[in-house]
Subunit: 336 residues, 2 copies
């Protein structure tokens, strides 16, 4: 395939890149999330990522935007695309442990709880309503919305939600070795709670076993009137599945080819089951001469902070794959 698996049939004048930040306590369970140097530090990652994207550097903490193995974080890719396209991103705080260091559109949610033991998002209905208000607000000014997310541990909540909705899903991971057994065990316990209480309504499923990003993203999709691309892999497919279960019009989904090619997940198959149109960006990180970026190709990181969507948006705005790749290389090299 080329840079984009398919060219979306959209015209637009005024796009917005937006990303929803959230936490789930699941990311603090050792082994579940690779998005942070320690399980506890994963809770800080959305804040640091947003700071990097808005300011171009992280000054609030002595942390470099690379993974412990030297991969540039997806946030640094998103940052480079904002610079290339001259876009001002908007961040939405759906529920975080730590206070953001840049302005965020805040819905005043809480960090998601562990779905094995209690309701993950008790305020799911309220967050959904606030998402609807945001979708309405953004509709007034923007005719294309690329909506990413940063929720460490979020592929596990995505697995729970997709399974609760009856999908035959396996989800991706930012680890090369997806901790499938651990995720399956968490999912089994969460789904047991869902089944015991005969929970079937979409928002109730999010309340039982989702994360704060999900009801906010769902609400936005339900009222936004322009073209909307959910930018992410299995996490955004779980949001799409909820939207379908509610009977609302489906968004587009856009992610990287590295998520599609994850052998431990079945992203393309889940998308087909939902009936959502999914686009894949292949930025060809393998031949850029950067060992950290090349690790994306062997299945590390893969996606995050709407990086796939940000690259797609830059492409739709007329930037060539060559310029996009060169810009990413220049940006991440400066952080090394």
């Amino acid at each position: 395939m080329g840079f984009l698996s398919e060219i979306p049939d959209v015209t637009f004048k005024k796009p917005l890149f937006c990303s929803i930040l959230g936490n789930t306590l699941l990311s603090t369970v050792p082994g579940v999330s690779g998005a942070g140097s320690t399980p506890e530090n994963t809770l800080l990652t959305p804040v640091l990522d947003a700071e990097l994207i808005v300011k171009g550097s992280i000054t609030s903490h002595p942390i470099k935007p690379n993974t412990p193995t030297g991969c540039p974080t997806p946030a640094s890719i998103t940052r480079s695309m904002m610079e290339l396209s001259g876009l001002q991103p908007l961040f939405i705080n759906a529920g975080l442990r730590h206070s953001p260091t840049v302005p965020c559109l805040d819905v005043y949610g809480e960090i998601g709880e562990d779905p094995r033991f209690r309701d993950a998002v008790p305020q799911a209905q309220v967050l959904f309503e606030k998402g609807k208000l945001i979708g309405k607000f953004l509709s007034e000014s923007f005719d294309l919305l690329v909506l990413g997310e940063c929720v460490p541990g979020g592929t596990t909540t995505a697995l729970c939600v997709l399974r609760a909705l009856g999908y035959d899903a396996s989800v991706s991971s930012s680890f090369v070795d997806n901790p499938v057994t651990q995720k399956e065990e968490i999912c089994r316990m969460a789904i047991a709670r869902v089944r015991a209480d005969h929970v079937t309504a979409p928002l109730d499923i999010l309340q039982y076993t989702g994360d704060p990003m999900m009801p906010v993203a769902t609400g936005i999709c339900c009222t936004y009137t322009g073209h909307i691309f959910l930018a992410g892999g299995t996490q955004m497919l779980s949001v799409s599945a909820i939207i379908k279960a509610m009977g609302a019009p489906l968004p587009y989904v856009v992610t990287t080819s590295y998520v599609r090619d994850d052998p431990s997940a079945n992203v393309d198959q889940i998308a087909r089951q939902i009936g959502v149109q999914i686009f894949y960006v292949d930025p060809g990180f393998g031949d850029l001469g950067h060992t950290g970026l090349a690790r994306y190709c062997i299945g590390e990181v893969k996606e995050g902070m709407g990086a796939g969507g940000a690259m797609c948006l830059s492409y739709l705005l007329g930037h060539s794959p060559e310029v996009i790749r060169k810009t990413i290389l220049t940006t991440v090299s400066a952080y090394s």
Copy 2:
């Protein structure tokens, strides 16, 4: 004069009404603020006002949008103008005691401290920088910005700031009987701290004796590239005075004729001293047949939540004074 004291020489395509919410502990000093049923309740007023404007009613608390004496709050006027013009307002949380019930663009500030005893806004510099980020973001999408505020107790911080900058200022109040003696005594103590430490830099003055709204509004004005109207009376004049002291281009100010006509304040004179162009809206509440609105004319409430600016914006969008007045009457009558 007619509905507007003067027609601003602006053309625009995409306006935004925005209001900055904040608290100062000064509003809890008995007698200082009329914006709430009790001194402690004044801290909740910005949250309730924003809820009313976004949702059309207050459901989070058993409170009607009227003052204890039966005046419709300025927020209900702002709400009616949003409905009339089909505008989606944006709220900015500069530092509140209570969590908002509607989404807000949050800068993660703290509630302002009592400037008599300690620094009122220790994070003034940080809030200013975040305001600059917001101004940059809003510039991308909107070519006219009406920026209101809701800070109970804010006329007292405005007095402190204007005096600290050397202005011969008397400020307005939402009370019919402006608690001038009490405000002067607070101001005397706050200014003593400013003078003792030889504080003269504009942001340092805000740190010593302002409130959280002020550095955020100042930051927005410093980076926003479209037309900007600060919507408020003496509070927005204090922001204008800070902007002037920083050497940045001055915004416009818009408020109601009831603020201009406050005999305990000297709004027009302060505006002239600063050199800022100020517009007055006279909605003629005296002859609408609503006793609560008529009390605005005898000096109660007068302004707030950018109500003057919201009426001005509706007018600039082509709505006649008759339609504006009728819409306000219909809206506030429904809340009685």
